[in-house]
C-alpha cells in the first residue's frame, strides 16, 4: 500500500472524507509517480484548484507532469535539500518552500523509510491524529511483524517532529462524530458492484487500461455470487461472448476503453438488431488511437453515441461521480435488460481509478428485468413482434415452444431474414420506439440549482467533470451568481421534453466537457434546442478541469 493510500485511509478513520488519484510516468514499474490527495470534513469527489501541500521525495522527470500539479502562492512545498533545488517549473507560482532533510531523518531511525517520514510529517502538518495513521499501519503491516510496525511508527514520529517548522498548511477541523458505514471505493470498483446489483452474472474480459480494475474486481466477486467470468482472446470475443451469455438469459457485461470499444461496435450493432441486451463499461482515456492510456479524457462520446453502422439506436449513460458509478452501472444494466438493447456506460480514468471515501450508497430497486416470453398453445412465437412500446417478449433457451433464431439480418416479426421495405421500417421503428417511448424518470440527469431558482444561466455537463462543476457553482452562488446544473446521466437517446423543461427560462448556457472537439456540445446542438447564448468550456485531457476555471468561464458573461 502506498503512503498516499495510508493517508486517505487514516483520514477516513479520523472521520474525514477524501479522494486519492495517482499520476504515473511512462516507466512500466518505478519511475516518477505522484499521489494526489484531497481531504475534507465534507464529502469530496474531485480535486480542488490547487494543492496546498506538496511533499517532494524526488524531482526526477517533474517536467513531465508538473502541469498536473497546480500550486499557488499559498502552497507549501516540502523538499529534501539533498534532491537539489526545487525545479523552476514548480517555483513558478511562488509557493513557500520548506527544506526538510527527509532522507537524513529516515536514516536516523532504525529501519526508517523516507515514505513513512513524509507521512508522519504530513499527518502532523494537517492535524491528522497519529492514532488514525497507526491504526492503518497496524493493519497494513499485520503480516510483516512487530519490528516493521515499530520502525514505521518511529519514522512517522521522526517526520512529525519536523512539522513544527511548517507554517501555512491548512489544518482540517476534527470530525465531530465519525460517520457510520462509510466506504472506501474507486469508480471502477463501484461500477463492478453496480453491475452485480443490477443482476449481471456473466462477464467476458480483455484487459485494458484504465478499465481493467472493473474486471479484476468482478472476477473473484462474481464467482462468489454464482456468476462466470471468461477471459477472452480479444474484444471482438469479449463482447460477442457477452451477447452469447445474454442470449442465454444471463445479464452480461464487459468493460473496456476506447481502442477496445472501437473493436466492439460491429457486435454492438448485432446486439441492436437482434435485440440482445449487453452492457459495456467504457472507461475513457486520452485518445485518439492508443493515445494516453493512463490519463483521463471524455473523448469517446462520439463513438459511444454514433459509432455503430446503420441506424442502430442504443443507450449511452454516464455516471456523474465516483459514487455514482455504482448507481449508473446498476441503472445501465436495468435499462439494457428492460429495453433489450446494448448500453454503453461512459466512465473515465479520473473516476475509475480514483479512490474516494463515500457514504454508504443506498440499495436501489433497479434490477434488470427482461420481458420474458412463454409459449401460447397454437400461437407461433414471434420474437420480434411489433408491439406498442416496441419491447417484444424474449424467450430464453430452455423455454419450450418458443424456439426461435435471433438474427442480425433484417427480419420479419418472427425473425426470418427479410429484405422487404415494410419489415425493415417496422423493425427500425420498433427498435427506435422502445428507446424513445421509455420513461427514464428523474435519473436521466442530475439537476441542481445553485443560488436562486430564478436564474437565466445554466451549465450542462456530464461525467467526472460534474463534481468540479458543482464545486464551481457553489462558489459562484456564494458570489451571488445563481446557476442551474444539468449533468446528463442519459447521453443517448436524447430527451428533448425533459431538456426543454430543465432549460425553461435559461438564456445563457455553458457546456463543460473534457475533450478537444467539443463533442458534447455538438451532440447537444444536434438533438436539443439550446438557449440563444451558448458557450463551451472544453479542453482535452490530461489536465483536470479545475473549479476556478469553470467559475472564470461563468464570469465571462457576468
Amino acid at each position: 500500500m502506498t503512503a498516499g493510500q495510508i493517508l486517505v485511509d487514516a483520514a477516513a478513520r479520523a472521520g474525514w472524507y477524501g479522494l486519492m488519484a495517482r499520476s504515473l510516468g511512462p516507466q512500466i514499474r518505478g519511475g516518477e509517480s505522484a499521489a494526489l490527495l484531497r481531504l475534507s470534513p465534507q464529502p469530496v469527489q474531485s480535486a480542488d484548484d490547487f494543492y496546498d501541500l506538496m511533499v517532494a521525495v524526488d524531482w526526477g522527470n517533474i517536467e513531465r507532469f508538473a502541469s498536473e500539479l497546480p500550486l499557488h502562492a499559498a502552497s507549501v512545498i516540502i523538499t529534501d535539500p539533498s534532491q537539489g533545488e526545487v525545479p523552476p517549473i514548480m517555483r513558478a507560482a511562488a509557493p513557500r518552500i520548506v527544506p526538510v532533510p527527509l532522507k537524513d531523518v529516515a536514516k536516523e531511525v532504525t529501519g526508517g523509510r523516507v515514505n513513512m517520514v513524509a507521512l508522519g510529517l504530513i499527518a502532523a502538518a494537517i492535524g491528522l491524529p497519529e492514532d488514525a495513521v497507526i491504526d492503518v499501519l497496524r493493519q497494513v503491516l499485520a503480516k510483516k511483524g512487530a519490528d516493521a510496525l515499530d520502525a514505521s511508527i518511529a519514522s512517522l514520529r521522526a517526520g512529525a517532529a519536523q512539522a513544527a517548522a511548517i507554517e501555512g498548511v491548512p489544518t482540517l477541523a476534527p470530525a465531530g462524530k465519525v460517520p457510520d458505514g462509510r466506504w472506501s471505493i474507486t469508480g471502477n470498483e463501484a461500477a463492478g458492484l453496480g453491475a452485480l446489483r443490477g443482476g449481471v452474472r456473466f462477464v467476458a474480459a480483455y484487459p485494458i487500461t484504465p478499465a481493467t480494475e472493473v474486471l479484476e474486481w468482478l472476477a473473484p466477486n462474481l464467482a462468489k455470487v454464482g456468476g462466470t467470468l471468461v477471459q477472452a482472446e480479444d474484444e471482438l470475443a469479449s463482447i460477442t461472448m457477452c451477447l452469447g451469455g445474454s442470449f442465454g438469459g444471463v445479464p452480461s457485461l464487459t468493460a473496456t476503453s476506447g481502442p477496445g470499444l472501437a473493436l466492439m461496435t460491429e457486435a454492438l450493432g448485432l446486439g441492436v438488431a437482434s435485440e440482445t441486451p449487453v452492457v459495456v463499461v467504457n472507461v475513457m482515456r486520452g485518445g485518439p488511437s492508443t493515445g494516453i492510456p493512463t490519463k483521463s479524457e471524455q473523448s469517446d462520446l462520439n463513438i459511444a453515441v454514433y459509432g455503430l453502422h446503420g441506424d442502430a439506436p442504443h443507450i449511452v449513460t454516464a455516471p456523474t461521480s465516483i459514487a455514482d458509478c455504482l448507481f449508473t452501472a446498476q441503472w445501465s444494466v436495468y435499462l439494457a435488460e428492460s429495453l433489450q438493447v446494448p448500453t454503453i456506460m461512459l466512465s473515465d480514468q479520473a473516476m475509475g481509478q480514483s479512490r474516494a471515501i463515500i457514504d454508504k450508497p443506498a440499495d436501489l430497486a433497479f434490477v434488470g428485468k427482461r420481458l420474458r416470453a412463454e409459449a401460447t398453445e397454437g400461437v407461433p412465437y414471434q420474437r420480434y413482434a411489433v408491439t406498442a412500446d416496441g419491447v417484444s417478449p424474449m424467450a430464453v433457451p430452455g423455454t419450450r415452444g418458443c424456439e426461435y433464431t435471433a438474427d442480425g439480418l433484417e427480419h420479419s416479426p418472427r425473425g426470418t431474414p427479410s429484405t422487404q421495405a415494410q419489415h425493415h421500417t417496422d423493425q427500425l421503428d420498433k427498435r427506435q420506439r422502445k428507446l424513445t417511448a421509455f420513461d427514464y424518470g428523474d435519473a436521466w440527469a442530475h439537476h441542481e440549482t445553485f443560488g436562486t431558482t430564478e436564474t437565466d444561466l445554466a451549465v450542462i455537463t456530464f461525467g467526472s467533470v460534474t463534481e468540479p462543476v458543482r464545486e464551481a457553482l457553489s462558489r459562484a452562488a456564494e458570489d451571488g451568481i445563481s446557476c442551474r446544473l444539468i449533468a446528463l446521466r442519459l447521453l443517448s437517446p436524447a430527451q428533448p421534453k425533459r431538456m426543454a423543461a430543465a432549460l425553461d427560462g435559461i438564456k445563457r448556457l455553458l457546456v463543460v466537457e473534457q475533450n478537444h472537439m467539443a463533442q458534447f456540445h455538438a451532440l447537444l446542438r444536434a438533438y436539443y434546442d439550446l438557449p440563444p447564448s451558448v458557450k463551451t468550456l472544453h479542453r482535452p485531457g490530461p489536465l483536470a478541469l479545475r473549479p476556478h476555471e469553470i467559475v472564470a468561464a461563468l464570469g465571462d458573461w457576468t
Binding site: K224, V225, G226, E233, G244, S246, A267, S274, E403, G408
Partner: protein, 283 residues
C-alpha cells in the same frame, strides 16, 4: 437457470421435428442440405429437448443453418459464432450448444476465435461446412482454397497461398475432438456429430460440403473422400494423431482424435450474497 439434463429422452423426437418450416436459400445441390439433415438426425439420436439446444452461426451460406432447425438459434455476424457459442455455454452450461458455419467464417475472419476455442475447451461442437470458397459473396478464395484456383476475380492468378489445414491447426491448438465428414456421406456425418456432442469439451467436425455453384468441380469429392479414420479407432494420443495427419490427403473422413483435456470449468455455485461482498468496501 434450471439445469435440465440434456440426456437422451424417450425417443419420441424424430429428425423431422428438428427441422423448421423455412425453405433454405441454398442453391439446388448445395452440400449444406445434407449437413442440415445430419444435424437434425443427430439431435434426434441424442434426443435433446428442442428447447435445450441452440445452434449458433456467423454469416455465409452455411451460416444460414440455425433458422432451418427448430431449436434455439443465433445467426450472428461474420466470424463471431464461436465466441457467442462460448458465452452461451459458459453462462448456460445446461444447454447443448452447436456452432456451425463456413470455412471463411471460421478460418478467415474467425480464425482467432477458432484457435482459442480449441484451447479453451468449452463443451460445444463446431461444425464447419468447408467448401473452400466464400459462397455467399459469390465465390472468392477462402483459407482452404488451393493456391492455384483461378476462379475468383479477386485473385485472378489464384490466391497463391498455402491452404489452411483445419485439423492440423485444431490439433496444435488443443482441440479435444477432431473429425472430418463429407456431406455426400450424410449418415457418417450424423455419427460424427453425435460422437462430437457426446465427447466432453470442444469438438470440431469439418464437413466437406461442396459449393456446386462456385466450385462445381467439388462434386468429384464423392470419389476422392475415403472413410479411413474409423471412429472406433480414433487416436487418443496427439503424436499418433499428428502422424495420421501428416499422411492425410485432406479427404480422409472419420474421427481423427479424441482427447482428454480438462473441460472449461462451469460457474461456481453461489456462496455469498451482495451484502457480503460489500463488506469489502467498508472502512
Amino acid at each position: 437457470m434450471d439445469a435440465k439434463p440434456a440426456t437422451p429422452g424417450t425417443g419420441s423426437l424424430k429428425a423431422q421435428d428438428y427441422k423448421s418450416d423455412l425453405k433454405p436459400v441454398w442453391c439446388p445441390g448445395c452440400g449444406d442440405f445434407a449437413v442440415l439433415s445430419a444435424i437434425t438426425k443427430a439431435l434426434a439420436e441424442l434426443q435433446v429437448p428442442r428447447e435445450d439446444a441452440a445452434v449458433v452461426s456467423g454469416i455465409g451460406c452455411s451460416s444460414r443453418i440455425p433458422a432451418y432447425t427448430s431449436v434455439y438459434g443465433f445467426h450472428s455476424i461474420h466470424g463471431r459464432a464461436l465466441p457467442i457459442a462460448t458465452g452461451l455455454k459458459a453462462a448456460r452450461p445446461d444447454l447443448t450448444v452447436l456452432c456451425a458455419g463456413g470455412d471463411g467464417d471460421g478460418f478467415s475472419i474467425g480464425g482467432n476465435h477458432f484457435i482459442h476455442a480449441c484451447r479453451r475447451n468449452v463443451d460445444l461442437t463446431y461444425i464447419v461446412m468447408d467448401n473452400e470458397v466464400y459462397g455467399m459473396t459469390k465465390g472468392q478464395a477462402s483459407p482452404t482454397t488451393e493456391p492455384d484456383w483461378t476462379g475468383s476475380k479477386l485473385t485472378p492468378e489464384g490466391p497463391g497461398v498455402a491452404p489452411f489445414q483445419p485439423l492440423e491447426i485444431a490439433l496444435s491448438a488443443g482441440a479435444n475432438f477432431i473429425a472430418r465428414g463429407f456431406s455426400g456421406d450424410p449418415n457418417f456425418v450424423v455419427r460424427l456429430i453425435v460422437e462430437a456432442v457426446r465427447h466432453p469439451g470442444f469438438s470440431l467436425v469439418q464437413v466437406l460440403s461442396p459449393c456446386v455453384t462456385f466450385r462445381p468441380e467439388q462434386r468429384a469429392w464423392k470419389e476422392t473422400t475415403h472413410a479411413d479414420w474409423a471412429p472406433e479407432n480414433a487416436s487418443t494420443d496427439r503424436r499418433e494423431a499428428f502422424l495420421k495427419l501428416l499422411d492425410d490427403d485432406g479427404f480422409t473422413t472419420g474421427v481423427l482424435y479424441k482427447g482428454r483435456n480438462p473441460v472449461f470449468a462451469p460457474p461456481h455455485p453461489s456462496s455469498a450474497n451482495l451484502a457480503d461482498l460489500e463488506k469489502g468496501f467498508a472502512l
